[in-house]
């Protein structure tokens, strides 16, 4: 245990963790497994960790990565290479030490009624963790949307925990052709809740769909972050609250928000 780990809080770990494994699961999308800690093992679906790659190539800010699974031994994180920071992360190797802070943010709340899960692209990752945690998963349906078959991942993993998994792609190269909202419209039964993570336009259309069908919807949002702790106000999104519009922090009040209150 180094001096920083001694100073970590009871809830949030901050210190070095070891890369146990890193794999490119589809082109440009990586699954990295790191060693866990007492705090990280208590992560919930929708929460994230802040990662600083240990590299000569200098980036300043940590990168928020969504947690795809966590237990006492390992934490699984999924990320897509989008810029320099994630490119450097993709160059990590087994055995490397990286600086980790987390778990951070408010994730999906556990629900005991039938729920529809909707994941688009990289947004599938936190839903895997959520699917594993749901107690009524035999009644849970999941729709995964990707651009094409080459970008699809975790299909078999989802099928191992959920009975009803539907895949759609923009070009029809895997599953049915179309988008997530369209597919949700086809398969909906008596579910009253949607939990979604994906691109902003997808979350916007799903929130509209939920409104029309009198459903509750929880969406996981992304924004550029500074501190990850709620101090810098860098990652805000506009939310309806008490009849007013206000900026709320993705890192603190989110990343999971009531989709009906998000101003897209």
């Amino acid at each position: 245990m180094n001096s920083r780990e001694k100073l970590s809080s009871e809830k949030i770990f901050f210190g070095l963790r070891e890369v146990i494994n890193i794999n490119e699961i589809v082109k440009g999308t990586f699954l990295v497994e790191i060693s866990s800690s007492a705090q990280l093992s208590k992560s919930g679906p929708g929460q994230f960790v802040y990662i600083i790659p240990k590299t000569q190539k200098r980036t300043i800010l940590p990168r928020p990565l969504c947690i795809a699974d966590a237990d006492a031994d390992t934490v699984k994180l999924i990320f897509k290479v989008k810029g320099k920071g994630t490119l450097y992360l993709s160059e990590l190797s087994k055995g490397d030490k990286i600086s980790v802070m987390g778990p951070l943010g408010k994730g999906f709340q556990a629900v005991n009624e039938p729920v529809l899960l909707a994941g688009g692209g990289l947004g599938a990752a936190p839903l895997y963790f959520l699917a594993k945690k749901l107690r009524n998963n035999e009644k849970t349906s999941l729709v995964l949307g990707f651009k094409n078959k080459d970008e699809a991942y975790f299909i078999n993993e989802f099928k191992s925990v959920l009975r009803n998994v539907f895949v759609c792609t923009d070009d029809g190269s895997l599953g049915s052709r179309g988008n997530v909202t369209g597919k949700i419209g086809e398969i909906i039964k008596d579910e009253k809740i949607i939990c979604a993570c994906g691109p902003r336009p997808m979350l916007k259309s799903l929130s509209a769909f939920a409104g029309e069908n009198k459903m509750r919807i929880f969406v996981s949002l992304e924004e550029r972050m500074g501190c990850g702790m709620g101090a810098c106000l860098g990652c805000v999104v506009k939310i309806r609250s008490g009849g007013k519009e206000e900026y709320q922090r993705v890192c603190k009040e989110g990343p999971v928000f009531d989709g009906s209150k998000v101003i897209y």
Binding site: L61, M225, C227, A231
Partner: protein, 305 residues
């Protein structure tokens, strides 16, 4: 074994150690309390506070740059009344020395907020922000000219009796001139520097990455600029200075002390190392002990010739 004293003073304000967060990088002290008690710090400088609550600028508000970051938060804050009723009690409970960073659209705004805070004895000092580059009115507009800077400081001085610190912008031709104007107008000390105005372009969308077009550059990229300005102002005026800009370790902080700063603020480094400030405080103690120096005050300005 010598007795190590890392206490310092800024404009008459006594601090048990020289380390405090830069305004806007540490919220109101609650956020990082997960990791350590904010009362361990020399002082807590709170989020820039205005008379009325502010929404701030449209996101995205942050862009990463080489060795730094740009922000255009735009002074989002709860306003002075909520600061006093909702945020100040936590800081008081944790025995923090509180420095309120204040900003306004007009000289009257600054005077009104100063008057309000003068009635709050738990606020030990105000840091007058005449240097925010991210708001369309006020902020830096007051800080780029000696006359306008002087006008704001005089108005605050009339309403605020305790320690008055002016936070200056580096986006000026002659920082010494502005510094002198602030001291002559009643400032007890100066904070040097606020962020450096910069920009970043999204090459895919072919437009500025920040909707506000420009933002304030912070982080290690600006340390040499900040250090030079602390040095120049100390040499020319001898004023009490809080040095800030790109400090990410104890050695950086010590450079500022040797350049003439009485205390230091840490900003962007908090984002990637939430323990950086306690680490810097520990670094000062260790350095003094190893070099058999009994008081940090002996090191203030030793490099100024």
């Amino acid at each position: 074994m010598i007795n190590i004293d890392i206490s310092t003073a800024v404009g008459g304000l006594k601090l048990k150690n020289p380390v405090m967060p830069a305004s806007g990088t540490w919220g109101y002290g609650e956020e990082y309390a997960e990791f350590y008690n904010p009362g361990e710090l020399g002082a807590v400088v709170v989020k820039g506070t205005t008379l009325e609550p502010r929404h701030g600028n449209e996101p995205p508000r942050i862009a990463e740059t080489p060795a730094g970051m740009l922000n255009s938060v735009g002074l989002q804050n709860v306003g002075v009344e909520k600061f006093i009723s909702e945020k100040l009690p936590f800081l008081k409970d944790n025995k923090c020395v509180v420095i309120a960073n204040i900003a306004g659209d007009s000289i009257d705004d600054y005077a009104a907020i100063a008057e309000r805070l003068d009635a709050e004895k738990d606020v030990s000092a105000v840091e007058v922000n005449i240097s925010c580059p991210n708001v369309s009115k006020g902020g830096i507009a007051f800080g780029v000219g000696a006359d306008t800077a002087s006008g704001v400081i005089k108005s605050v001085r009339k309403k605020y009796k305790r320690v008055l610190i002016a936070k200056l912008s580096p986006n000026v031709t002659d920082i010494v001139e502005i510094a002198r104007a602030c001291i002559d107008s009643g400032a007890d000390a100066l904070t040097l520097i606020n962020t450096v105005k910069g920009m970043s372009i999204d090459i895919n969308n072919r437009k500025p990455l920040l909707p506000n077009c420009t933002g304030g550059l912070s982080g290690p990229a600006i340390k040499p600029i900040a250090l030079r300005m602390v040095y120049e102002v100390k040499k020319a005026t001898g004023a009490d200075i809080i040095g800030v800009g790109g400090i990410e370790c104890f050695e950086d902080a010590l450079e500022f002390i040797m350049a003439g700063a009485n205390a230091v603020q840490v900003g962007t480094a908090n984002f990637y190392n939430p323990l950086v400030m306690p680490e810097i405080i520990g670094g000062f103690r260790k350095y003094l002990a190893e070099n058999k120096i009994s008081s940090l005050k002996e090191l203030i300005g030793v490099a100024v010739h």
